[in-house]
Amino acid sequence: MLTIENLEVSVEGKPILKGLSLTVEAGRVHAIMGPNGSGKSTLAHVLAGREGYEVTGGSVRFGEEDLLAMEPEERAQAGLFLAMQYPVEIPGVANMYFLRQAINAIRKARGQDEIPAAEFMRKVREQAKLLGIGEELLKRDLNAGFSGGEKKRNEILQMAMLEPRLCILDETDSGLDIDALRTVADGVNRLRSPERAFLVITHYQRLLDYIVPDVVHVMADGRIRRSGGPELARELEERGYEGLLGTRLAA
């Protein structure tokens, strides 16, 4: 589904990703772990199409398409979703209005009719309930004044509503207490399906106790340094990045 080959990315002339290769298949959950400064969030942003990153080499294919040639909205319309580490507060844009705009924009791009109002409401209420998001939060402006946990739940709500085929979670566990972490992880696990792939980016092994990955990658200095099964995450927890990789890390 996602094929990254030798991806090189710079920010303001400074190389961050230095030849990263990764293949993610439908139905699989890949975790990317790495210390601060290893380039994890850069990878997430580049995949979603955020400005300010210069791709200096390599390629990314999403299905049959050249992902890097697409606008951010085209990537979303093609089924890519990034749950952000720091969801933006947008006062003046109602949460529900935004969600419906997003769903309809994606449906329109796929040649589908707009979602009927009743179906939208039923679905959003159902998903919100599962994620412990109250009606009051749905009525508020997008992320405006939300707590850290509420913002992350709202990201997963959007993910559930937009039904992407590739979900990228960028440090979704950061700033969550254990109950919120469990709720968010349950939300993600409910979305696991043979057609859908996940790329879970995290600093800590903790999240992977709840979202159990099929493959774990360890990233450092802009590259994938080790790949393995879920046991790699536990090994990392015991030995630390430096112990596992056998090098001193600059960051």
């Binding site: 979603a48 199409g49 955020r50 400005e51 606008e71 951010p72 909205e73 990537r75 979303a76 319309q77 990034l82 952000m84 969801p87 933006v88 947008i90 006062p91 003046g92 844009v93 109602a94 529900m96 209005y97 935004f98 419906r100 705009q101 997003a102 769903i103 924009a105 994606i106 791009a109 109002a117 409401m121 009606e135 749905l138 009525k139 402006d141 959007q158 937009l162």
Partner: protein
């Protein structure tokens, strides 16, 4: 153009004098000697004051002479089909209204029936017949050293006399709708409104200035407000002008102890729209909230000028003005809070936030405080910025196209002021016009339905 830059005032175009001579015998109240004299004095004053240039500190940011100092014709009767005016009839089925087209009352669309005893709502032409002396006094009573106010006194052709006696609360809104059809030479109209609320009286006023079509027109409006003790006025203003039309609106207000005045002005369209406010707070316990948003683009200019005088202590004033400026638009804001000597315990705030969306657009802002008391809370501030790139990316990352994402964010910025319009029909019209202006395919009905269902 050099002459305009060097002198503070220009001589009015000779066409003004010729038009005044020809028109004076036919203006409302011309048969009354006192009124005729006030009008003639108004014209002399106008001629003496001249047309301000940008060398005049009060007109520093916009060149009014370019638009106002040229031959114009007075209004002539126009017949408009109802459907041209229908979208602008606001306030719901119970609203009362006076409708003017090119400075003339349209009785077929106006109605003021069923008012409580003692309430006066009359067109200016009617007031010139029923109360010529009082009208003459009112016209003569406002000399603010402003040439357009004097010009308005000379030509006042439309507008209204509105009085609510003490204690009267009108539960349905009153709309004053001024429609201008454009042409060449431009049509000028000079609405004068006099509004007096007795002790504890309460009114919701919808003032709407509309330009139809692409032709040029000039509206030169003056509104004199006097709110008695404890009176309340909710004042929604929509200024929706054509690309060649201009509006110069002056508001002069006096607020007595405990009065509450809330005004929200939305400017969507107009070659030059200038809103001047001079409000005097004359007692404690007054609340004066002035808000506005303007969205000038493609050579349009919006200019807001505010003077709030705290002449008594213990009152609260708040100015909150925004603009969205793009594609060669220009917004100017100059606001001043003057806290007079002895006006202790005054709370006065002023904020001007601008979104500047293109390199060829311009924003001028000049917030000022003048404080002659030592126990007050006052603040002012101005910002000018672009759309938040992180917010734009967030929306696009959810599949929303760039143009729609941009429109959503601009709408969110402006909606903070539009949401302050007290009347739901005024709010809906402002929303609809704003969204049409922004493009991006946003549908106000969708927003309403989603919010409605969620509620």
């Amino acid at each position: 153009m050099l002459a305009i830059k060097r002198t503070r005032r220009l001589d009015p175009d000779p066409a003004f004098a010729a038009t005044f001579r020809a028109l004076a015998p036919r203006l409302p109240g011309s048969a009354d000697a006192a009124l005729a004299r006030v009008r003639a004095e108004g014209f002399e004053r106008f001629a003496a004051l001249g047309i301000p240039t940008r060398r005049d500190e009060a007109w520093k940011f916009t060149d009014v002479a370019r638009i106002a100092n040229r031959p114009m014709r007075p209004a002539a009767p126009v017949e408009l089909p109802l459907e041209r005016v229908l979208p602008y009839l606001l306030g719901g089925p119970r609203a009362r209204r006076l409708v003017f087209v090119d400075g003339r009352l349209q009785p077929q669309w106006s109605h003021t029936g069923g008012l409580p005893e003692g309430v006066i709502v009359e067109s200016l032409a009617r007031a010139a017949e029923t109360r010529p002396v009082a009208l003459a006094e009112a016209l003569a009573g406002l000399d603010d050293g402003r040439s357009f106010t004097a010009l308005n006194a000379a030509f006042a052709d439309s507008g209204a006399w509105i009085e609510l006696p003490a204690g009267v609360v009108l539960d349905a809104p009153l709309q004053l709708l001024f429609v201008a059809t454009g042409g060449e030479p431009p049509v000028m109209s000079h609405p004068r409104c006099i509004l007096r609320l007795g002790d504890g009286a309460s009114l919701s006023l919808l003032e709407t200035h509309v330009g139809l079509g692409e032709g040029a027109a000039l509206g030169n409006a003056v509104l004199q407000l006097a709110l008695g003790p404890g009176a309340r006025l909710e004042h929604d203003r929509l200024e929706l002008l054509g690309p060649a039309s201009a509006l110069l609106a002056k508001l002069d207000g006096s607020l007595a102890a405990g009065a509450r005045y809330r005004q929200t002005t939305v400017v969507l369209g107009g070659a030059l729209v200038r809103n001047e406010h001079e409000v005097r707070i004359d007692g404690p316990g007054v609340e004066c909230l002035l808000s506005g948003v303007a969205v000038p683009s493609r050579g349009e200019e919006a200019d807001t000028f505010v003077r709030i005088h705290h002449r008594a202590g213990g009152s609260h004033s708040d100015q909150f003005f925004k603009s969205v400026v793009e594609a060669g638009g220009h917004n100017a804001f100059a606001g001043k809070i003057i806290v007079h000597k002895g006006a202790q315990k005054t709370n006065a705030y002023q904020k001007n936030d601008n979104l500047l969306l293109s390199d060829d657009s311009e924003v001028d802002t000049k917030p000022e405080l003048e404080i002659y008391a030592d126990d007050v809370k006052c603040s002012h501030g101005a910002t000018c910025g672009e759309l938040d790139a992180a917010a734009l990316f967030y929306l696009r990352a959810r599949g929303i196209g760039a143009e729609t994402a941009r429109a959503l964010l601009i709408h969110a910025f402006a909606a903070e002021v539009i949401g302050r319009l007290g009347d739901p029909t005024a709010r809906a019209l402002a929303e609809q016009r704003l969204l049409a202006r922004l493009g991006g395919g946003l549908d106000p009905a969708l927003a309403a339905s989603v919010i409605g269902e969620a509620a």
